[in-house]
C-alpha cells in the first residue's frame, strides 16, 4: 500500500482560535447556505485568510495547510467550523493541540487534523504531510516532525473520507484494538 501524502504551503495562525473566530454565531442565519457561510471563514481576525487559501490552491501546485498553535477550535460544537475551513480549500490542519469537539468534527468531515510541534513551522513553509505514517517533512527548513497518533477508529473514519461515508460502508462502528 502506498502512503497517502499531501503537499502544500503553511498558513500560520496562532493559539486558542475559537469557533467564534472561525465562524461567529452572528452568521447562524447562513448555516443552511454553506457556500455563503464559508465566505466568512475567520473574517473577524484574519480577513485575508480566504483569499490566501484560494491563491495557494490555484497557483502553488499544492494544498493550503492551516497551521495553528494550541487548543485550536475551542468553544462551540458547531461542525460548521471545520466545514467552512474545508470548503475554503484547506487540505489539512496542523496544531499543537485541538479542542475535543472540533477535532472529532474535522475528522468526521474528512479534514485531516494532525497534532505536532507547530513552532517548527513558519508561515509559507513548504510541507509534505505523510498522512499514513503521521510525519511531516518541512521542505523549507529540512526538519521532519512526528505527529501524535489518533485512536484507530478515527484513522478509519478519516480514511473513508469522513463519518458519513464510514457509516455508509460499515453500517455502524467497528472497534479495532
Amino acid at each position: 500500500m502506498t502512503d497517502l501524502v499531501l503537499k502544500g504551503k503553511a498558513i500560520k495562525l496562532w493559539d486558542n482560535i475559537s469557533t467564534d473566530d472561525i465562524i461567529p454565531g452572528r452568521f447562524a442565519h447562513l448555516r443552511s447556505n454553506l457556500p455563503e457561510l464559508a465566505k466568512h471563514v475567520l473574517e473577524d481576525t484574519t480577513p485575508e485568510f480566504a483569499s490566501r487559501v484560494r491563491d495557494m490552491s490555484l497557483h502553488a501546485g499544492g494544498e493550503a495547510i492551516l497551521v495553528a498553535g494550541k487548543n485550536l477550535g475551542l468553544g462551540s460544537s458547531r461542525e460548521h467550523a471545520p466545514l467552512v475551513i474545508k470548503m475554503s480549500g484547506v487540505g489539512a490542519i496542523l496544531a499543537k493541540s485541538a479542542a475535543r469537539i472540533f477535532f472529532r468534527n474535522a475528522i468526521n468531515q474528512g479534514l485531516p487534523v494532525l497534532l505536532c510541534d507547530t513552532d517548527k513551522i513558519g508561515d509559507g513553509d513548504e510541507l509534505e504531510i505523510n498522512l499514513t505514517g503521521g510525519t511531516i517533512a518541512n521542505l523549507t527548513s529540512g526538519i521532519t516532525l512526528s505527529c501524535s497518533k489518533m485512536p484507530p477508529i478515527m484513522s478509519a473514519i478519516l480514511k473513508e473520507g469522513g463519518l458519513i461515508p464510514y457509516i455508509q460502508k460499515h453500517k455502524g462502528f467497528v472497534i479495532t484494538r
Binding site: 473577524d44 481576525t45 494550541k70
Partner: protein
Amino acid sequence: MGKTLAEKILSLKSHGEAKAGDVVIADVDLAFVQDTTGPLTIRQFKESGFEALAKPQQTIIFLDHAAPSPAQQLSNDHILLRRFAEETGCRIYEVGEGICHQLVAENFANPGDIIVGADSHTVTAGALGAFATGMGSSDVAVALALGKTWFRVPESFLIELSGVFPRGVYAKDLILYLIGQIGADGTNYKALEFGGKALAKMTMSQRLTIANMVVEAGAKVGLFPGDKITRDFLREYGRGDKYKPLSPDAGANYERVIPVNLDWLEPMLSLPHAVDNVRPVAPVKGIKIQQAFIGTCTNGRLEDLAVAAEILKGKKRHLGTRLLIAPASRQVLIRAIEKGYIQSLIEAGATILPPGCAACLGLHQGVLGDGEVCLSTANRNFKGRMGNPEAMIYLASPATAAASAIKGEITDPRDIM
C-alpha cells in the same frame, strides 16, 4: 481496581470494562439538537441514508438559539426542524419553552445516563450524574440513527470541595476560579469529577452552573455523584423513580486531585476575550458597562433570578446600563413571577426576554455595539461572541451582574449587599 464516575457509566453502557484510554461503543439514552446545529444534523442523517430514529421518544429538537427567529433563513430552518419532528416522531420543544440544557435537566437527565447533544454545553446534565457531552452534527446524526456512539474513555480530574460559599460568592465564582486555574485546555479530552464534603450543601442549581462550564476548561464531561440532592431534584420534577445512587469507587484512579476550600473564594470575573482570563472582581471594578445580561444555561435559573431580584429590589438600573434578563425555561419564568422576582426586576428597569438563549451567542435580543462593554452571566466571552467583534464581554455571577447594573460599572456585589 476502583472506577471513576466516567469509567463506571461507560462500563455500564458499553456492557464491558471501560478503563481510561479505552475506546468503547456505548448506548445513548438521549440525543438532541438545537436550531443552529439541527439543520446540518438532519442533512447528515439523510445523506447517510437513514430514515428512522433508533429511539424517537429519546430524541429531541429544541428551538432555543434563535427564538423567536430574527431572520427569514432561521425561520426556514425552524420549518425544516418541525418537519423532521413530524416525519420521525421525535419530540420538539417550541420557541419560548426554554434552553435545551435547562429542559434536559428539568425533564430528562438521570444519574448514569448517556446524553449526547449537538451543543457544547450538553455537559450541563453532568450535574445530575449523567455522562453528557457535546458533539458535532455528524456524530449526533449517527447517534440518532444507531442509538449508540463511540467514546474514548477519559482520564478524570477530581475537584474536592470543602467549606461553604461566603456571602456574595456563588457557584459561578467557583467554576470561573477553577477554569482560571486549569486553563482553557487544561482538561482537554478529560473528565472533571466533583466530590468532597461541600457537595452535601450544594444545590442542583449550583451544580448545573458548574457542570455547564467544564467545557470551557476543555473537559468532555463534568460529573457530580448521584446523592440526596439529586434524588430530591428528581422527585420535585416528577421522576423520583429514576434516581439511583452513583459514586466513584474507593481507590478510583484520578490523574489529578485539586482541593478547593470554598471559604476562601471571592467574586470572580472572566475578562475579554478568553474564559480562562480570570481575576477577582475587586481589582477590576469600576469599568463602565453598557449592558448587563442575566440568563443562559449557565445562570438563568430560579436561584439566579432570586439573587438578582434581591439585589435589585427597590433599586434602579443605572441610566447608562441596559439590564436584560432571560429566564432559562418557561417553568423558571412562571416560578419567578409567582415569587415576585420578575416584578422586582421590571421595577428596577430590567427588560425581560423570552425563555431561551437570548443575547448569549450574538444572534438577537441584545447584540452589542462597537466599543460597548457587557457584563454577562453566560459562559463565553470570545471576540465576536455577542454579535460584534468590536465589543467586550466580561463574565460573572448574577449577583455581580445585578450589582454592576445598579452602579453602571463592574461592581463587587459584597459592596452593596
